[in-house]
Symmetry: C2
Subunit: 312 residues, 2 copies
């Protein structure tokens, strides 16, 4: 590239849309945000407004939560109101008069870590976002893996126990029933119901009110029962990471999402269990396990870089 | 390429080594086979002998069973005697005076289907070999996925039930405990021990002698109890295939290995359960599910094509 580029990226979240403009050095040179409105028309208006705030720009990318096709259609999005077969890429391109690249928000987070964060220089890595659910992005052989339809990375619904608890998706024992933020809360409430979390229940007020946050408070006080639940949680996280490693042999695993906030508690158990659950651990280099660096701007930064990585 | 090439591929199996020579049209123009001897030195002698039988040739590739590094070292191979850190690529290159490409046998099978078989023209597919164990190969975005170390595709050890039966690998509930040839035998013996397989036990002589073969005989007679076990087997195969699809979104899944012999019995259950176990099945095109075409020559054909696909 010979002329400096201004790349806009917009992350469409459940409550707000964050737009950033990056320069050629991938530094943030513009920022705007608006609440996420309800319905496809209002979302397009919001995205156009954000893009105009950051104009002029050379390329634009959008990250959205859910299944995104290769041509930029959001098939469904559990956290957005009235969204089904939302042709966000085409509609926004028509309004702006320029190409628009669209991808899943976890994929955008992976791109951000790859180009600006902890995965810089890595040709083979998997990003796992541990939030309310689990999302993912895959880079293999120096290229973003998109799949036949653009849906690569729906790793939260990897079934890890077919007789496990029901998942809203209709199956049982999906990985995100255990290894996400809601999974941690469920593991904690199960332990509390079995009278294994005295201190946590004291903090929460009742078994039903137990959440990951109170578990973390008790664990940081040194409460052994709370630390045991983090160990169990770490085992479930590690189980999925080992499965991913057996399949894809990444050199690096990046953990992002809200759960990164309790990495002081989960990192040790995840690492220990990972070494036990990986196939043939004595015969292979283990992937590095790192926490994401990009924070809450990851989605918008990755969205801005979609036109670059989609072209690789 | 402007001059016609002769490409040799050798598949090193547990009992025999099969060597083929392919021409530019990927037709087999030479073939040789020898028993697989014991120990690294004898194997190298055998491979040199096979290569010389098919000389002259332009490129050579070797498929071996086990974990193969990017530089052609076989770290370990459960089915070969006295093999550990076997530098097959380097040793053979020294003897032949030419580059040697080495990869895992399931990866070779994937390459054969990709370039000459049922996956021709596919840019995103996963090959799954259901034999004694389960192996795999992954093509994404039109390129073979190798991973950071060359170990991509160890999908048999994806844990699908952490409290499941022990696996020789040291973990529990690995996919190949259910969805391989030995998994089918185990499911059948469990059913027989629970008095659910009268006809199969009659054929086998005793519960302990029940294998997949007798199960298939009874199922083809229309025995409902035997068909039920094939349904259970199909569910486990489908569970792993759905997990792979959620992660990688292939346009095609290719099933190979010895289990393809009972595809008349397993294909229906696998397809039915796959549609139930896939995430968001109503929102996406499902990958095509096909059985491998290349048969027992797949490994050698794919090995011959390693120099081509490793360069992509």
């Amino acid at each position: 590239m010979t002329t400096p580029a201004r790349r806009v990226g917009i992350d469409v979240g459940g409550t707000k849309c964050l737009a950033l403009c990056l320069d050629d050095d991938l530094q943030v040179v513009g920022e705007a945000r608006r609440p996420t409105p309800k319905g496809p028309d209002a979302i397009i208006d919001t995205l156009v407004g954000l893009a105009e705030e950051l104009a002029p720009f050379d390329t634009i990318g959008v990250g959205v939560p859910g299944l995104v096709t290769m041509d930029g259609t959001l098939r469904a999005a559990p956290n957005l109101v009235d969204i089904r077969d939302f042709h966000v890429g085409r509609l926004l391109a028509d309004r702006l008069g320029t190409d628009v690249h669209v991808d899943n928000d976890a994929t955008c987070a992976a791109v951000a870590e790859w180009k600006r964060g902890v995965a810089r220089g890595s040709d083979d890595f998997v990003m796992v976002t541990l939030g309310t659910g689990i999302g993912g992005g895959v880079v293999a052989g120096g290229r973003l893996v998109r799949g036949a339809n653009g849906f690569t990375g729906e790793i939260g619904h990897m079934v890890v126990d077919p007789t496990g608890p029901p998942c809203p998706c209709g199956r049982r024992g999906c990985w995100e029933r255990y290894a996400s933020g809601s999974g941690l809360g469920r593991l904690a409430r199960d332990a509390a119901a079995a009278h294994r979390l005295t201190r946590v229940v004291e903090i929460a007020g009742s078994v039903d009110d137990v959440r990951g946050e109170q578990l973390a408070v008790a664990a940081r006080e040194g409460d052994l029962e709370a630390l045991e639940v983090f160990d169990e949680f770490g085992r479930w996280v590690a189980l999925g990471l080992a499965n991913l490693t057996n399949l894809l042999d990444p050199g690096l695993l990046v953990l992002g999402g809200g759960l990164a906030a309790s990495k002081d508690l989960s990192s040790g158990p995840i690492r220990r269990w990972f070494a036990e659950l990986l196939y043939a651990p004595e015969l292979r280099p283990h992937p590095r396990l790192e926490f994401a660096e990009m924070g809450e701007r990851a989605g918008a930064i990755g969205a801005a870089l979609l036109p670059v990585v989609h072209a690789l």
